[in-house]
Symmetry: C2
Subunit: 321 residues, 2 copies
Protein backbone atom coordinates (compact mmCIF):
# COMPACT_ATOMS: atom_id res chain seq x y z
CA UNK A 1 0.00 0.00 0.00
CA UNK A 2 2.68 2.37 1.08
CA UNK A 3 4.76 1.79 -2.05
CA UNK A 4 1.81 2.37 -4.39
CA UNK A 5 0.98 5.55 -2.57
CA UNK A 6 4.54 6.65 -2.96
CA UNK A 7 4.60 5.92 -6.73
CA UNK A 8 1.47 8.04 -7.06
CA UNK A 9 3.09 10.89 -5.20
CA UNK A 10 6.22 10.58 -7.27
CA UNK A 11 4.18 10.62 -10.49
CA UNK A 12 2.35 13.72 -9.29
CA UNK A 13 5.72 15.27 -8.51
CA UNK A 14 6.97 14.57 -12.02
CA UNK A 15 3.79 15.95 -13.61
CA UNK A 16 4.13 19.02 -11.40
CA UNK A 17 7.67 19.50 -12.65
CA UNK A 18 9.38 18.93 -9.31
CA UNK A 19 13.07 18.53 -10.01
CA UNK A 20 13.62 16.08 -7.15
CA UNK A 21 10.85 13.76 -8.34
CA UNK A 22 12.17 13.92 -11.92
CA UNK A 23 15.70 13.06 -10.80
CA UNK A 24 14.50 10.16 -8.63
CA UNK A 25 12.31 8.75 -11.43
CA UNK A 26 15.21 8.84 -13.86
CA UNK A 27 17.55 7.12 -11.42
CA UNK A 28 14.92 4.44 -10.82
CA UNK A 29 14.53 3.88 -14.58
CA UNK A 30 18.28 3.76 -15.11
CA UNK A 31 18.54 1.11 -12.43
CA UNK A 32 15.51 -0.75 -13.69
CA UNK A 33 13.70 -0.52 -10.37
CA UNK A 34 9.96 -1.26 -10.21
CA UNK A 35 9.45 2.24 -8.79
CA UNK A 36 10.66 3.68 -12.09
CA UNK A 37 8.21 1.60 -14.09
CA UNK A 38 5.32 2.54 -11.82
CA UNK A 39 6.04 6.23 -12.24
CA UNK A 40 6.45 5.90 -16.01
CA UNK A 41 3.21 3.95 -16.38
CA UNK A 42 1.39 6.72 -14.52
CA UNK A 43 2.88 9.72 -16.29
CA UNK A 44 3.03 8.27 -19.80
CA UNK A 45 -0.54 9.29 -20.78
CA UNK A 46 0.58 12.88 -20.26
CA UNK A 47 3.47 12.72 -22.71
CA UNK A 48 3.76 13.17 -26.45
CA UNK A 49 4.24 16.90 -26.92
CA UNK A 50 7.95 17.52 -26.30
CA UNK A 51 10.23 17.96 -29.29
CA UNK A 52 13.12 15.49 -28.98
CA UNK A 53 16.23 16.63 -30.79
CA UNK A 54 19.18 14.32 -31.33
CA UNK A 55 22.62 15.92 -31.57
CA UNK A 56 25.32 13.67 -32.91
CA UNK A 57 28.81 13.97 -34.34
CA UNK A 58 32.39 12.85 -33.71
CA UNK A 59 34.17 13.54 -30.41
CA UNK A 60 35.64 17.01 -30.32
CA UNK A 61 33.15 18.39 -32.86
CA UNK A 62 31.83 20.91 -30.35
CA UNK A 63 28.48 19.27 -29.61
CA UNK A 64 28.33 20.41 -25.99
CA UNK A 65 29.11 24.02 -26.89
CA UNK A 66 26.36 23.85 -29.45
CA UNK A 67 23.84 22.40 -27.01
CA UNK A 68 24.81 25.12 -24.56
CA UNK A 69 24.01 27.81 -27.12
CA UNK A 70 20.74 26.10 -27.99
CA UNK A 71 19.75 26.02 -24.32
CA UNK A 72 20.38 29.78 -24.20
CA UNK A 73 18.26 30.36 -27.29
CA UNK A 74 15.30 28.26 -26.09
CA UNK A 75 15.54 29.73 -22.58
CA UNK A 76 15.23 33.20 -24.07
CA UNK A 77 11.87 32.07 -25.45
CA UNK A 78 10.79 30.88 -21.99
CA UNK A 79 11.05 27.13 -22.65
CA UNK A 80 11.99 24.50 -20.07
CA UNK A 81 14.93 22.62 -21.58
CA UNK A 82 16.27 19.15 -20.80
CA UNK A 83 19.53 17.63 -22.03
CA UNK A 84 20.23 13.92 -21.97
CA UNK A 85 23.95 13.48 -22.61
CA UNK A 86 24.88 9.93 -23.55
CA UNK A 87 28.34 9.37 -22.25
CA UNK A 88 30.34 6.65 -23.96
CA UNK A 89 32.88 6.43 -21.17
CA UNK A 90 33.03 3.46 -18.85
CA UNK A 91 33.41 3.55 -15.07
CA UNK A 92 37.16 3.15 -15.58
CA UNK A 93 37.58 6.32 -17.57
CA UNK A 94 34.45 7.97 -16.27
CA UNK A 95 36.20 11.26 -15.99
CA UNK A 96 37.11 11.43 -19.64
CA UNK A 97 34.14 13.40 -20.85
CA UNK A 98 33.47 15.20 -17.61
CA UNK A 99 34.83 18.32 -19.23
CA UNK A 100 31.86 18.46 -21.56
CA UNK A 101 29.43 18.37 -18.72
CA UNK A 102 31.34 21.00 -16.81
CA UNK A 103 30.72 23.40 -19.67
CA UNK A 104 27.02 23.07 -18.88
CA UNK A 105 27.49 23.78 -15.20
CA UNK A 106 26.44 27.38 -15.72
CA UNK A 107 22.87 26.09 -15.72
CA UNK A 108 23.04 24.30 -12.41
CA UNK A 109 21.09 26.91 -10.49
CA UNK A 110 18.47 27.22 -13.17
CA UNK A 111 15.38 25.06 -12.40
CA UNK A 112 14.15 25.22 -15.98
CA UNK A 113 17.27 23.59 -17.40
CA UNK A 114 17.91 19.95 -16.54
CA UNK A 115 21.14 18.33 -17.76
CA UNK A 116 21.48 14.62 -17.17
CA UNK A 117 24.41 12.45 -18.17
CA UNK A 118 23.98 8.72 -18.80
CA UNK A 119 26.77 6.19 -19.32
CA UNK A 120 25.90 4.22 -22.45
CA UNK A 121 28.13 1.24 -21.71
CA UNK A 122 26.01 0.24 -18.76
CA UNK A 123 23.29 -0.74 -21.20
CA UNK A 124 25.39 -3.05 -23.32
CA UNK A 125 25.01 -1.10 -26.51
CA UNK A 126 21.30 -0.51 -26.01
CA UNK A 127 21.30 3.20 -26.49
CA UNK A 128 17.60 3.18 -27.29
CA UNK A 129 16.57 1.21 -24.31
CA UNK A 130 16.73 3.75 -21.53
CA UNK A 131 17.20 6.96 -23.47
CA UNK A 132 13.66 7.36 -24.72
CA UNK A 133 12.21 6.04 -21.48
CA UNK A 134 14.04 8.74 -19.56
CA UNK A 135 13.00 11.30 -22.17
CA UNK A 136 9.32 10.46 -21.43
CA UNK A 137 9.89 11.53 -17.83
CA UNK A 138 11.26 14.90 -18.99
CA UNK A 139 8.31 15.22 -21.38
CA UNK A 140 5.82 14.49 -18.59
CA UNK A 141 7.53 17.10 -16.40
CA UNK A 142 6.96 19.76 -19.04
CA UNK A 143 10.45 19.96 -20.53
CA UNK A 144 10.30 20.89 -24.22
CA UNK A 145 12.62 20.63 -26.12
CA UNK A 146 14.64 17.66 -24.97
CA UNK A 147 18.13 17.37 -26.43
CA UNK A 148 19.72 13.94 -26.71
CA UNK A 149 23.45 14.39 -27.23
CA UNK A 150 25.57 11.46 -28.29
CA UNK A 151 28.96 10.67 -29.75
CA UNK A 152 28.58 9.05 -33.12
CA UNK A 153 30.05 8.03 -36.39
CA UNK A 154 28.67 6.01 -39.25
CA UNK A 155 27.16 3.17 -37.31
CA UNK A 156 25.74 4.93 -34.27
CA UNK A 157 24.02 7.65 -36.21
CA UNK A 158 21.32 5.29 -37.35
CA UNK A 159 20.63 4.66 -33.69
CA UNK A 160 20.11 8.27 -32.76
CA UNK A 161 17.91 8.92 -35.78
CA UNK A 162 15.33 6.54 -34.35
CA UNK A 163 15.42 8.23 -30.93
CA UNK A 164 14.50 11.75 -31.92
CA UNK A 165 12.00 13.73 -33.96
CA UNK A 166 14.81 15.85 -35.39
CA UNK A 167 18.43 14.88 -35.80
CA UNK A 168 21.21 17.45 -35.91
CA UNK A 169 24.47 16.07 -37.26
CA UNK A 170 27.56 18.08 -36.36
CA UNK A 171 30.47 17.97 -38.78
CA UNK A 172 33.84 19.48 -38.09
CA UNK A 173 36.44 20.63 -40.59
CA UNK A 174 39.84 18.96 -40.71
CA UNK A 175 38.76 15.45 -39.80
CA UNK A 176 39.98 13.60 -42.80
CA UNK A 177 40.70 13.52 -46.43
CA UNK A 178 39.70 11.41 -49.35
CA UNK A 179 36.92 9.02 -48.53
CA UNK A 180 34.28 10.73 -46.46
CA UNK A 181 32.19 8.08 -44.78
CA UNK A 182 30.91 10.50 -42.18
CA UNK A 183 29.65 13.06 -44.63
CA UNK A 184 27.58 10.55 -46.52
CA UNK A 185 26.14 9.06 -43.34
CA UNK A 186 25.37 12.52 -42.05
CA UNK A 187 23.40 13.47 -45.11
CA UNK A 188 21.39 10.33 -44.81
CA UNK A 189 20.17 10.80 -41.26
CA UNK A 190 20.68 14.50 -40.54
CA UNK A 191 17.61 16.71 -40.67
CA UNK A 192 19.97 19.60 -40.04
CA UNK A 193 23.70 19.54 -40.75
CA UNK A 194 25.99 21.76 -38.71
CA UNK A 195 29.50 22.67 -39.78
CA UNK A 196 31.02 23.61 -36.44
CA UNK A 197 34.22 25.58 -35.86
CA UNK A 198 33.18 27.70 -38.84
CA UNK A 199 36.04 30.08 -38.07
CA UNK A 200 38.54 27.49 -39.28
CA UNK A 201 39.92 28.05 -42.77
CA UNK A 202 38.68 24.70 -44.12
CA UNK A 203 35.10 25.08 -42.89
CA UNK A 204 33.88 26.63 -46.14
CA UNK A 205 35.32 23.75 -48.13
CA UNK A 206 33.54 21.23 -45.90
CA UNK A 207 30.22 23.05 -46.32
CA UNK A 208 30.76 23.10 -50.08
CA UNK A 209 31.49 19.36 -50.13
CA UNK A 210 28.36 18.66 -48.12
CA UNK A 211 26.26 20.78 -50.48
CA UNK A 212 27.67 18.91 -53.47
CA UNK A 213 26.87 15.55 -51.88
CA UNK A 214 23.35 16.80 -51.19
CA UNK A 215 22.88 17.67 -54.85
CA UNK A 216 23.88 14.15 -55.81
CA UNK A 217 21.23 12.77 -53.50
CA UNK A 218 18.58 15.14 -54.81
CA UNK A 219 18.74 13.69 -58.28
CA UNK A 220 17.25 10.42 -57.15
CA UNK A 221 13.77 11.13 -55.86
CA UNK A 222 12.56 14.46 -54.64
CA UNK A 223 8.88 14.90 -53.91
CA UNK A 224 7.97 18.56 -53.58
CA UNK A 225 7.02 18.45 -49.92
CA UNK A 226 10.27 16.83 -48.89
CA UNK A 227 12.52 18.41 -46.25
CA UNK A 228 15.83 19.72 -47.56
CA UNK A 229 18.33 19.48 -44.69
CA UNK A 230 19.88 22.92 -44.28
CA UNK A 231 23.63 23.20 -43.74
CA UNK A 232 24.31 25.68 -40.93
CA UNK A 233 27.78 26.97 -40.12
CA UNK A 234 28.46 27.85 -36.47
CA UNK A 235 31.42 29.31 -34.62
CA UNK A 236 31.72 29.42 -30.85
CA UNK A 237 34.70 31.78 -31.13
CA UNK A 238 32.89 34.28 -33.34
CA UNK A 239 29.52 33.52 -31.71
CA UNK A 240 27.80 33.09 -35.05
CA UNK A 241 25.25 30.71 -36.52
CA UNK A 242 23.48 29.61 -33.36
CA UNK A 243 20.35 31.69 -33.98
CA UNK A 244 20.16 30.30 -37.47
CA UNK A 245 20.52 26.78 -36.10
CA UNK A 246 17.81 27.25 -33.53
CA UNK A 247 15.51 28.67 -36.23
CA UNK A 248 16.26 25.67 -38.46
CA UNK A 249 15.31 23.27 -35.66
CA UNK A 250 12.01 25.12 -35.14
CA UNK A 251 11.29 25.03 -38.88
CA UNK A 252 11.93 21.32 -38.92
CA UNK A 253 9.42 20.78 -36.13
CA UNK A 254 6.83 22.77 -38.10
CA UNK A 255 7.53 20.76 -41.24
CA UNK A 256 7.24 17.48 -39.29
CA UNK A 257 3.84 18.49 -38.00
CA UNK A 258 2.48 19.89 -41.26
CA UNK A 259 3.66 17.00 -43.42
CA UNK A 260 2.39 14.30 -41.06
CA UNK A 261 5.96 13.05 -40.62
CA UNK A 262 5.80 13.73 -36.88
CA UNK A 263 3.44 10.77 -36.34
CA UNK A 264 5.57 8.52 -38.53
CA UNK A 265 8.66 9.34 -36.50
CA UNK A 266 6.90 8.89 -33.18
CA UNK A 267 5.83 5.43 -34.27
CA UNK A 268 9.42 4.53 -35.17
CA UNK A 269 10.72 5.91 -31.90
CA UNK A 270 8.25 4.00 -29.76
CA UNK A 271 8.68 0.79 -31.75
CA UNK A 272 12.45 1.05 -31.28
CA UNK A 273 12.06 1.61 -27.58
CA UNK A 274 9.71 -1.33 -27.15
CA UNK A 275 11.75 -3.75 -29.22
CA UNK A 276 15.06 -2.86 -27.59
CA UNK A 277 13.42 -3.48 -24.24
CA UNK A 278 11.99 -6.83 -25.33
CA UNK A 279 15.34 -7.82 -26.73
CA UNK A 280 17.15 -7.03 -23.51
CA UNK A 281 14.66 -8.92 -21.38
CA UNK A 282 14.90 -11.96 -23.61
CA UNK A 283 18.68 -11.93 -23.34
CA UNK A 284 18.40 -11.78 -19.58
CA UNK A 285 16.19 -14.83 -19.61
CA UNK A 286 18.76 -16.71 -21.64
CA UNK A 287 21.57 -15.59 -19.40
CA UNK A 288 19.63 -16.76 -16.37
CA UNK A 289 19.65 -20.25 -17.87
CA UNK A 290 23.36 -20.25 -17.20
CA UNK A 291 23.71 -24.04 -17.19
CA UNK A 292 22.48 -24.37 -20.77
CA UNK A 293 24.50 -21.41 -21.93
CA UNK A 294 27.76 -22.62 -20.43
CA UNK A 295 27.25 -26.08 -21.87
CA UNK A 296 26.64 -24.60 -25.31
CA UNK A 297 29.73 -22.39 -25.15
CA UNK A 298 31.87 -25.27 -23.95
CA UNK A 299 30.72 -27.47 -26.82
CA UNK A 300 31.61 -24.70 -29.26
CA UNK A 301 34.99 -24.13 -27.60
CA UNK A 302 35.71 -27.82 -28.07
CA UNK A 303 34.71 -27.34 -31.74
CA UNK A 304 32.06 -30.05 -31.32
CA UNK A 305 29.27 -27.74 -32.38
CA UNK A 306 29.21 -24.59 -34.52
CA UNK A 307 28.10 -21.29 -32.96
CA UNK A 308 25.00 -21.33 -35.15
CA UNK A 309 24.06 -24.81 -33.94
CA UNK A 310 24.63 -23.67 -30.33
CA UNK A 311 22.36 -20.67 -30.85
CA UNK A 312 19.65 -22.95 -32.22
CA UNK A 313 19.93 -25.21 -29.18
CA UNK A 314 19.62 -22.27 -26.76
CA UNK A 315 16.57 -20.98 -28.60
CA UNK A 316 14.97 -24.39 -28.35
CA UNK A 317 15.58 -24.63 -24.63
CA UNK A 318 14.03 -21.20 -24.16
CA UNK A 319 10.84 -22.17 -25.95
CA UNK A 320 10.50 -25.36 -23.89
CA UNK A 321 10.70 -23.69 -20.53
CA UNK B 1 20.07 -35.64 -51.25
CA UNK B 2 21.47 -33.40 -53.91
CA UNK B 3 21.65 -30.41 -51.56
CA UNK B 4 23.45 -32.34 -48.82
CA UNK B 5 25.93 -33.63 -51.31
CA UNK B 6 26.51 -30.12 -52.52
CA UNK B 7 27.06 -28.79 -48.96
CA UNK B 8 29.65 -31.51 -48.48
CA UNK B 9 31.41 -30.51 -51.67
CA UNK B 10 31.28 -26.88 -50.71
CA UNK B 11 32.73 -27.64 -47.28
CA UNK B 12 35.52 -29.64 -48.91
CA UNK B 13 36.12 -26.70 -51.22
CA UNK B 14 36.43 -24.31 -48.28
CA UNK B 15 38.78 -26.65 -46.41
CA UNK B 16 40.83 -26.98 -49.58
CA UNK B 17 41.10 -23.20 -49.78
CA UNK B 18 39.14 -22.84 -53.04
CA UNK B 19 38.38 -19.16 -53.45
CA UNK B 20 35.07 -19.75 -55.22
CA UNK B 21 33.79 -22.03 -52.44
CA UNK B 22 34.91 -19.53 -49.78
CA UNK B 23 33.13 -16.67 -51.55
CA UNK B 24 29.93 -18.70 -51.98
CA UNK B 25 29.93 -19.80 -48.33
CA UNK B 26 30.32 -16.21 -47.15
CA UNK B 27 27.52 -14.97 -49.38
CA UNK B 28 25.28 -17.76 -48.08
CA UNK B 29 26.07 -16.82 -44.47
CA UNK B 30 25.49 -13.12 -45.15
CA UNK B 31 22.10 -13.97 -46.59
CA UNK B 32 21.31 -16.43 -43.84
CA UNK B 33 20.74 -19.29 -46.26
CA UNK B 34 20.64 -22.87 -44.94
CA UNK B 35 23.51 -23.70 -47.32
CA UNK B 36 25.73 -21.33 -45.35
CA UNK B 37 24.86 -23.00 -42.07
CA UNK B 38 25.48 -26.45 -43.48
CA UNK B 39 28.93 -25.48 -44.70
CA UNK B 40 29.80 -23.77 -41.42
CA UNK B 41 28.68 -26.74 -39.35
CA UNK B 42 30.93 -28.97 -41.44
CA UNK B 43 34.04 -26.82 -41.48
CA UNK B 44 33.84 -25.50 -37.91
CA UNK B 45 35.72 -28.45 -36.30
CA UNK B 46 38.71 -27.44 -38.46
CA UNK B 47 38.86 -23.86 -37.17
CA UNK B 48 40.48 -22.25 -34.16
CA UNK B 49 44.01 -21.48 -35.29
CA UNK B 50 43.76 -18.21 -37.22
CA UNK B 51 44.75 -14.99 -35.48
CA UNK B 52 41.87 -12.51 -35.74
CA UNK B 53 42.99 -8.92 -35.56
CA UNK B 54 40.53 -6.07 -35.14
CA UNK B 55 41.51 -2.70 -36.61
CA UNK B 56 39.40 0.21 -35.44
CA UNK B 57 39.58 3.97 -35.39
CA UNK B 58 37.73 7.05 -36.65
CA UNK B 59 36.96 7.57 -40.36
CA UNK B 60 39.91 9.07 -42.19
CA UNK B 61 42.45 7.70 -39.69
CA UNK B 62 44.17 5.70 -42.40
CA UNK B 63 42.98 2.23 -41.40
CA UNK B 64 42.86 0.88 -44.94
CA UNK B 65 46.37 2.07 -45.74
CA UNK B 66 47.53 0.40 -42.57
CA UNK B 67 45.80 -2.89 -43.40
CA UNK B 68 47.33 -2.72 -46.85
CA UNK B 69 50.82 -2.45 -45.35
CA UNK B 70 50.06 -5.27 -42.94
CA UNK B 71 48.95 -7.50 -45.81
CA UNK B 72 52.28 -6.76 -47.51
CA UNK B 73 54.21 -7.65 -44.36
CA UNK B 74 52.38 -10.92 -43.69
CA UNK B 75 52.52 -11.88 -47.39
CA UNK B 76 56.28 -11.48 -47.28
CA UNK B 77 56.27 -14.19 -44.60
CA UNK B 78 54.20 -16.46 -46.85
CA UNK B 79 50.90 -16.17 -44.96
CA UNK B 80 47.44 -16.32 -46.52
CA UNK B 81 45.71 -13.13 -45.42
CA UNK B 82 42.00 -12.30 -45.22
CA UNK B 83 40.44 -8.89 -44.62
CA UNK B 84 36.86 -8.42 -43.51
CA UNK B 85 36.03 -4.73 -43.96
CA UNK B 86 32.89 -3.70 -42.11
CA UNK B 87 31.35 -0.95 -44.13
CA UNK B 88 29.03 1.39 -42.29
CA UNK B 89 27.50 2.73 -45.47
CA UNK B 90 23.98 1.83 -46.51
CA UNK B 91 22.83 0.79 -49.97
CA UNK B 92 21.94 4.43 -50.60
CA UNK B 93 25.46 5.71 -50.16
CA UNK B 94 27.13 2.41 -50.86
CA UNK B 95 29.75 4.10 -52.93
CA UNK B 96 30.94 6.33 -50.11
CA UNK B 97 33.65 4.07 -48.78
CA UNK B 98 34.39 2.39 -52.04
CA UNK B 99 37.58 4.39 -52.22
CA UNK B 100 38.96 2.46 -49.26
CA UNK B 101 38.37 -0.82 -50.98
CA UNK B 102 39.87 0.41 -54.21
CA UNK B 103 43.16 0.95 -52.39
CA UNK B 104 43.20 -2.79 -51.78
CA UNK B 105 42.57 -3.65 -55.39
CA UNK B 106 46.25 -4.28 -55.96
CA UNK B 107 45.65 -7.66 -54.34
CA UNK B 108 42.87 -8.74 -56.65
CA UNK B 109 45.00 -11.13 -58.67
CA UNK B 110 46.59 -12.60 -55.59
CA UNK B 111 44.86 -15.86 -54.52
CA UNK B 112 46.38 -15.74 -51.03
CA UNK B 113 44.81 -12.38 -50.17
CA UNK B 114 41.04 -12.24 -49.75
CA UNK B 115 39.41 -8.87 -49.11
CA UNK B 116 35.71 -8.92 -48.34
CA UNK B 117 33.53 -5.93 -47.59
CA UNK B 118 30.36 -6.28 -45.52
CA UNK B 119 27.71 -3.61 -45.01
CA UNK B 120 27.05 -3.40 -41.28
CA UNK B 121 23.64 -1.75 -41.57
CA UNK B 122 22.11 -4.83 -43.10
CA UNK B 123 22.48 -6.52 -39.75
CA UNK B 124 20.69 -3.92 -37.70
CA UNK B 125 23.59 -3.06 -35.49
CA UNK B 126 24.62 -6.67 -34.96
CA UNK B 127 28.24 -6.31 -35.92
CA UNK B 128 29.11 -9.49 -34.06
CA UNK B 129 26.47 -11.58 -35.64
CA UNK B 130 27.89 -12.31 -39.04
CA UNK B 131 31.44 -11.04 -38.68
CA UNK B 132 32.82 -13.88 -36.62
CA UNK B 133 30.77 -16.44 -38.50
CA UNK B 134 32.32 -15.29 -41.77
CA UNK B 135 35.74 -15.23 -40.10
CA UNK B 136 35.35 -18.95 -39.28
CA UNK B 137 35.05 -19.65 -43.01
CA UNK B 138 38.31 -17.82 -43.67
CA UNK B 139 39.91 -19.70 -40.78
CA UNK B 140 38.75 -23.06 -42.17
CA UNK B 141 40.14 -22.12 -45.59
CA UNK B 142 43.58 -21.60 -44.10
CA UNK B 143 43.66 -17.81 -43.95
CA UNK B 144 45.77 -16.60 -41.02
CA UNK B 145 45.79 -13.77 -39.99
CA UNK B 146 42.28 -12.42 -40.53
CA UNK B 147 41.90 -8.64 -40.24
CA UNK B 148 38.54 -7.21 -39.21
CA UNK B 149 38.50 -3.54 -40.10
CA UNK B 150 35.77 -1.29 -38.74
CA UNK B 151 34.95 2.35 -38.21
CA UNK B 152 34.62 3.11 -34.56
CA UNK B 153 34.50 5.61 -31.77
CA UNK B 154 33.84 5.18 -28.09
CA UNK B 155 30.80 2.98 -28.30
CA UNK B 156 31.69 0.69 -31.15
CA UNK B 157 35.15 -0.10 -29.93
CA UNK B 158 33.80 -2.32 -27.21
CA UNK B 159 32.11 -4.30 -29.94
CA UNK B 160 35.23 -4.96 -31.94
CA UNK B 161 37.22 -5.92 -28.86
CA UNK B 162 34.97 -8.94 -28.41
CA UNK B 163 35.40 -9.98 -32.06
CA UNK B 164 39.14 -10.34 -32.22
CA UNK B 165 42.08 -11.88 -30.39
CA UNK B 166 44.05 -8.66 -30.79
CA UNK B 167 42.68 -5.17 -31.21
CA UNK B 168 44.62 -2.41 -32.94
CA UNK B 169 43.24 1.06 -32.26
CA UNK B 170 44.27 3.72 -34.76
CA UNK B 171 44.48 7.28 -33.51
CA UNK B 172 45.09 10.25 -35.74
CA UNK B 173 46.56 13.63 -34.79
CA UNK B 174 44.46 16.76 -35.12
CA UNK B 175 41.11 15.26 -34.28
CA UNK B 176 40.11 17.39 -31.36
CA UNK B 177 41.06 19.36 -28.37
CA UNK B 178 40.27 19.34 -24.71
CA UNK B 179 38.19 16.37 -23.76
CA UNK B 180 39.60 13.24 -25.33
CA UNK B 181 36.97 10.55 -25.20
CA UNK B 182 38.60 8.59 -27.96
CA UNK B 183 41.99 8.40 -26.36
CA UNK B 184 40.64 7.03 -23.13
CA UNK B 185 38.46 4.48 -24.91
CA UNK B 186 41.40 3.44 -27.06
CA UNK B 187 43.60 2.73 -24.08
CA UNK B 188 40.91 0.62 -22.58
CA UNK B 189 40.40 -1.75 -25.47
CA UNK B 190 43.51 -1.39 -27.63
CA UNK B 191 46.13 -4.12 -27.38
CA UNK B 192 48.20 -2.02 -29.73
CA UNK B 193 47.76 1.72 -30.26
CA UNK B 194 48.74 3.23 -33.59
CA UNK B 195 49.35 6.93 -34.09
CA UNK B 196 48.85 7.21 -37.84
CA UNK B 197 49.95 10.09 -40.08
CA UNK B 198 53.08 10.25 -37.94
CA UNK B 199 54.55 12.76 -40.39
CA UNK B 200 52.13 15.42 -39.15
CA UNK B 201 53.59 17.96 -36.73
CA UNK B 202 51.13 17.13 -33.93
CA UNK B 203 51.67 13.35 -34.04
CA UNK B 204 54.40 13.44 -31.39
CA UNK B 205 52.15 15.37 -29.02
CA UNK B 206 49.37 12.80 -29.47
CA UNK B 207 51.75 9.91 -28.76
CA UNK B 208 52.97 11.75 -25.65
CA UNK B 209 49.40 12.29 -24.43
CA UNK B 210 48.60 8.62 -24.96
CA UNK B 211 51.70 7.58 -23.02
CA UNK B 212 50.74 9.87 -20.16
CA UNK B 213 47.22 8.43 -20.05
CA UNK B 214 48.73 4.95 -20.02
CA UNK B 215 50.83 5.82 -16.98
CA UNK B 216 47.72 6.94 -15.15
CA UNK B 217 46.10 3.60 -15.85
CA UNK B 218 49.16 1.67 -14.75
CA UNK B 219 48.91 2.91 -11.22
CA UNK B 220 45.75 0.96 -10.57
CA UNK B 221 46.59 -2.72 -10.91
CA UNK B 222 49.53 -4.08 -12.79
CA UNK B 223 50.36 -7.74 -12.41
CA UNK B 224 53.81 -8.55 -13.77
CA UNK B 225 52.63 -10.71 -16.67
CA UNK B 226 50.23 -8.10 -17.96
CA UNK B 227 50.44 -6.85 -21.55
CA UNK B 228 51.52 -3.23 -21.93
CA UNK B 229 49.92 -1.93 -25.12
CA UNK B 230 52.70 -0.47 -27.26
CA UNK B 231 52.15 2.86 -29.00
CA UNK B 232 53.39 2.61 -32.58
CA UNK B 233 53.74 5.62 -34.84
CA UNK B 234 53.23 5.01 -38.58
CA UNK B 235 53.46 7.19 -41.66
CA UNK B 236 52.25 6.15 -45.10
CA UNK B 237 54.03 9.13 -46.66
CA UNK B 238 57.39 8.33 -45.09
CA UNK B 239 56.70 4.56 -45.19
CA UNK B 240 57.71 4.13 -41.56
CA UNK B 241 56.42 2.17 -38.60
CA UNK B 242 54.66 -0.66 -40.41
CA UNK B 243 57.33 -3.27 -39.67
CA UNK B 244 57.24 -2.28 -36.03
CA UNK B 245 53.45 -2.58 -36.03
CA UNK B 246 53.49 -5.99 -37.61
CA UNK B 247 56.09 -7.13 -35.05
CA UNK B 248 53.93 -5.77 -32.23
CA UNK B 249 50.94 -7.76 -33.48
CA UNK B 250 53.02 -10.93 -33.60
CA UNK B 251 54.32 -10.31 -30.07
CA UNK B 252 50.79 -9.85 -28.85
CA UNK B 253 49.79 -13.20 -30.31
CA UNK B 254 52.72 -14.85 -28.51
CA UNK B 255 51.78 -13.17 -25.26
CA UNK B 256 48.15 -14.27 -25.63
CA UNK B 257 49.23 -17.87 -26.07
CA UNK B 258 51.86 -17.91 -23.32
CA UNK B 259 49.69 -16.17 -20.73
CA UNK B 260 46.61 -18.32 -21.39
CA UNK B 261 44.71 -15.19 -22.41
CA UNK B 262 44.11 -16.64 -25.89
CA UNK B 263 41.59 -19.16 -24.51
CA UNK B 264 39.88 -16.49 -22.42
CA UNK B 265 39.43 -14.28 -25.47
CA UNK B 266 38.20 -17.12 -27.66
CA UNK B 267 35.54 -17.88 -25.08
CA UNK B 268 34.40 -14.24 -25.09
CA UNK B 269 34.36 -14.12 -28.87
CA UNK B 270 32.30 -17.28 -29.27
CA UNK B 271 29.92 -16.31 -26.47
CA UNK B 272 29.37 -12.94 -28.16
CA UNK B 273 28.72 -14.61 -31.48
CA UNK B 274 26.24 -17.08 -30.02
CA UNK B 275 24.33 -14.56 -27.97
CA UNK B 276 24.04 -12.01 -30.77
CA UNK B 277 22.66 -14.76 -32.94
CA UNK B 278 20.15 -15.85 -30.31
CA UNK B 279 19.11 -12.26 -29.78
CA UNK B 280 18.48 -11.68 -33.47
CA UNK B 281 16.46 -14.86 -33.85
CA UNK B 282 14.31 -13.98 -30.87
CA UNK B 283 13.61 -10.56 -32.32
CA UNK B 284 12.59 -12.17 -35.59
CA UNK B 285 10.13 -14.36 -33.76
CA UNK B 286 8.59 -11.32 -32.13
CA UNK B 287 8.45 -9.48 -35.42
CA UNK B 288 6.76 -12.45 -37.03
CA UNK B 289 3.97 -12.08 -34.49
CA UNK B 290 3.12 -8.87 -36.28
CA UNK B 291 -0.46 -8.72 -35.03
CA UNK B 292 0.60 -8.57 -31.40
CA UNK B 293 3.38 -6.15 -32.12
CA UNK B 294 1.24 -3.72 -34.07
CA UNK B 295 -1.45 -3.83 -31.39
CA UNK B 296 1.11 -3.05 -28.73
CA UNK B 297 2.62 -0.14 -30.67
CA UNK B 298 -0.81 1.29 -31.41
CA UNK B 299 -1.77 1.17 -27.73
CA UNK B 300 1.45 3.02 -26.89
CA UNK B 301 0.88 5.57 -29.66
CA UNK B 302 -2.54 6.25 -28.17
CA UNK B 303 -0.76 6.69 -24.81
CA UNK B 304 -2.96 3.95 -23.34
CA UNK B 305 0.00 1.86 -22.32
CA UNK B 306 3.61 2.73 -21.55
CA UNK B 307 6.39 1.28 -23.72
CA UNK B 308 7.58 -0.79 -20.75
CA UNK B 309 4.11 -2.27 -20.26
CA UNK B 310 3.93 -3.02 -24.01
CA UNK B 311 7.28 -4.81 -23.87
CA UNK B 312 6.05 -6.92 -20.96
CA UNK B 313 2.95 -7.88 -22.90
CA UNK B 314 4.96 -8.93 -25.96
CA UNK B 315 7.27 -11.01 -23.81
CA UNK B 316 4.29 -12.75 -22.28
CA UNK B 317 2.77 -13.57 -25.66
CA UNK B 318 6.08 -15.02 -26.78
CA UNK B 319 6.26 -17.38 -23.81
CA UNK B 320 2.71 -18.60 -24.35
CA UNK B 321 3.13 -19.56 -27.96
Amino acid sequence: MRRRHSAEEEADGVLGGEIGAVARAITAIENDLPAGHHVLNRVFPHTGTAHMIGITGPPGAGKSTLVNELIRSYRAGGAKVAVLAIDPSSPLTGGATLGDRIRMLEWHNEPDVFVRSMASRRFGGGLAQHTLTVAHIFDAAGFDPIFIETVGTGQDEVGIASLAHSTVVVQVPGLGDGVQTLKAGALEIGDIIVVSKGDRPDAQALARDLRRLQTLHDREDSPDDRWNPPIVMTSAIEQTGFDKLSAAIRSHKEWLQQSGTWEVRVRTMLATEISSRVQRDLMRRIQSQSVNQDAAINAVLARQMSPLAAADRLLESLSNR
